[in-house]
Amino acid sequence: MGNNKFMHYAFELAWILPSVAVPVAILVAITLTAFAVGIRVPDVAGRVDPKALSRTPPFDQPGVKELAPGRYEVAMIAQVFAFTPGEIRVKAGSEVTFEMTSRDVIHGVKISNSPVNVMVVPGQISRVTAKFDKPGEYLILCHEYCGSGHHVMAGRLIVE
């Protein structure tokens, strides 16, 4: 029995050690990509009154603004069941910062083949930045259920 017990503990230990090591390795990988490579998730970007969007910059003028060559800012409003602007044009290789909010319920924005994936919530500003290198048409779609027309809510981003 004594020897048996020992084997039992050795067996347990042989599993416990990797059970600790594997999560630790994953953690290191996540933290490295978050900080070293700079892939970030959205942060706190401030509140906004959805009833006062027409008076609140930048949402008083939704659209695409070229801040400098290769740098754009897009002010975008989501509401059932469309995005304003519905079409965005930028030059290839540029960095685009999106400032988004919703006029009514929660929407989501996912831009195909890009890291842009964010919730768009009334009362909150969602700010995300992404670089678009490859020319082509990217699909912008609403990926949070927002009502009976949710599946038609989409836009386009054209990289020229």
Binding site: E12, I30, N117, V120, V121, Q124, C146, V152
Partner: protein, 561 residues
């Protein structure tokens, strides 16, 4: 060799008489659970067909005015709120009382649990069926449903708390009668599960009582969607452990015996449950990686703790697999892996649950990707996520619960299972159908297909998605066949199964390393509960304070369906 449960079950008195009321309570809960799953599951098939532009909703327009999204609301609410909660309340009532080998401290409270939940269920069902609560099972404000939808769901949760009270009282009585004895493992696990649930539902209770219900009644003019989401996910992540732990109870304390072996380690099982109690809750913000209004730092902290839960999950994996190996070898199995073939694959309860475990291993691996902070950006709100949780709650939990009913329903009904072959066919068809369904849902998610979306009617449905969508429907239809086999077998068991003279014994597994091989502090509750609360405060207080101190509570409700 230690016995798992301190009580002795072979006794002179008639067990079925002692537990008659408990049996009835469990049976009542199981009936509601499986009726809910039948209706909820049906809409799953509708959804998969709609993806392929076969729209069955138009044919039932008079009863389902809200069409796809009303169906999806029913699918979510009935499957993961009603089916799971009712099954678990019934199951833990059974496990707790049988493992303590004594009746509920209060049988009236046992019926009150069922009563309060059912009043809530009926209240919530009315607006759901009338298309006045087509807000999906997550009911994110400012979409606004009828107030009675929220009140009903709240009552379901409040009702479930009564079982925690009852189990704690039963535990006290047992302790007084058995001074110095170790809590039987199944009862320990039932207590940990219900305690974790009671603690974590504080989030949804606050969301409902403070934010949503007053607002839906028109008492306050506005709400705060991100604050509501934060409170929702405070409960919404641990709820998955509320679903899983009851399946683990079966995997740890019964499946080894059903397989002909012993549980590998009782102390390690306790350690993993304690860790689930401590770590399940302070990680809920991993559902909010893409939310505005929540700081990156706290998202990262929750990501770190989320990976921490992988530890008790791996412990469980090891312990359960080692127990199965023990069973395989006890039955003469040899080799490194060949013992698998010696397991009793012809036993429906056993085979069903082992198949559930196998798919769960894939679900666990995918879950790591979801949890991984920045990788989450690839998959968040895509059909990858639906593919993922159909492996976890849709299979590890649902298929295990079905497996449990293959012995529990005969025990409660005192009738033999109608058909072993139907049961085995059911388990394998679910396994195969789900593997196909889930694989292609994951893949379509990587191709950018969103979830919670009526894909068949979406203008952006493209040729690439179209190529793989038929496989989703194939998987769904195979699961539909599986469901028919299940329900037919159950109805036939209750109505036409061969009568049993006596209630069969509950078959608890013994442990190779028993409860007394572990230290006594493993059998405590309070210290772990204190640690859990401290971690929750650390991980949630800063975000909640930031949200509450800046809230304007000015977002009006909208009915957009």
């Amino acid at each position: 060799m230690a016995t798992i449960a301190a009580g002795r079950y072979a006794r002179e008195r008639e067990e079925s008489d002692v537990f008659l009321t408990e049996n009835r309570i469990t049976g009542a809960n199981l009936i509601v659970a499986f009726v809910a799953l039948a209706i909820g599951g049906l809409f799953g098939v509708f959804q998969a067909l709609e993806y392929n532009q076969i729209n069955l909703y138009t044919s039932i327009k008079p009863v389902l005015p809200g069409q796809y999204y009303q169906g999806l609301s029913l699918h979510g609410v009935l499957n993961v709120l009603v089916f799971t909660t009712y099954f678990i309340i019934g199951w833990l009532t059974f496990v707790g009382t049988r493992a303590f080998d004594r009746p509920l401290a209060s049988r009236n409270l046992g019926w009150a649990t069922f009563g309060v939940m059912t009043v809530g269920l009926v209240l919530a069902a009315i607006p759901l069926l009338m298309n006045n609560a087509t807000v999906l099972f997550t009911f994110y404000p400012p979409m606004k449903a009828d107030a009675i939808y929220y009140i009903g769901l709240t009552l379901v949760v409040v009702g479930s708390w009564l079982l925690e009270v009852n189990l704690v009282l039963t535990y006290r009585q047992w302790k007084a009668a058995n001074p110095g004895a170790r809590t039987p493992l199944p009862a320990f696990m039932a207590l940990v599960t219900m305690t974790m649930w009671t603690l974590c539902t504080v989030g949804i209770a606050a969301e409902m009582l403070v934010l949503i219900i007053p607002w839906s009644l028109g008492l306050v003019g506005g709400t705060d969607p991100v604050l509501a989401r934060t409170l929702f996910w405070f409960t919404g992540h641990p709820i998955v452990y509320f679903w899983l732990l009851p399946a683990y109870i079966s995997w740890y304390t019964m499946v080894p015996r059903q397989g002909g072996g012993k549980l590998f380690s009782d102390p390690m099982a306790r350690v993993s449950f304690i860790l689930f109690l401590i770590l399940s809750i302070p990680i809920g913000m991993h559902h909010q990686y893409t939310d505005p209004g929540v700081s990156q730092i706290w998202k990262l902290v929750h990501a770190v703790f989320t990976v921490g839960v992988f530890f008790p999950s791996l412990l469980t994996f090891f312990n359960v697999v080692a127990s199965l190996e023990n069973a395989g070898r006890a039955r003469g199995g040899k080799g490194f892996l060949v013992w698998i073939f010696s397991l009793p694959w012809g036993n429906p309860a056993f085979a069903t649950q082992v198949l559930a475990m196998i798919l769960f291993a894939f679900g666990g691996a995918g879950g790591l990707i979801n949890a991984s902070y920045n990788l989450n950006l690839v998959v968040h709100n895509t059909s990858w996520i639906s593919g993922h949780f159909h492996l976890t709650v849709g299979t590890a939990v649902t298929l295990s619960f079905m497996g449990i009913t293959y012995w529990l329903v005969p025990l409660l009904a005192k009738r033999e299972l109608f058909s072993r072959w139907m049961a085995l066919a059911q388990a394998w068809t679910w396994f195969v159908g789900m593997a196909i369904f889930s694989h292609f849902m994951h893949y379509l998610g990587l191709l950018g297909m969103p979830r919670r979306t009526q894909i068949g009617a979406a203008p952006y449905l493209n040729a690439e998605w179209r190529m793989w969508l038929p496989f989703v429907a194939v998987g769904a239809v195979i699961m539909f066949v599986s469901a028919i086999l299940y329900y037919a077998n159950m109805v036939l068991t209750i109505t036409a199964g061969k009568r049993m003279a006596e209630e069969p014994e509950v078959e608890w597994a013994q442990a190779v390393s028993g409860p007394n091989d572990g230290p006594a502090w493993l059998d405590r509750f309070t210290p772990w509960l204190v640690i859990a609360v401290v971690l929750i405060v650390i991980n949630y207080a800063p975000t909640l304070v930031q949200l509450i101190s800046t809230t304007t509570l000015n977002i009006p409700g909208v009915r957009s369906w």
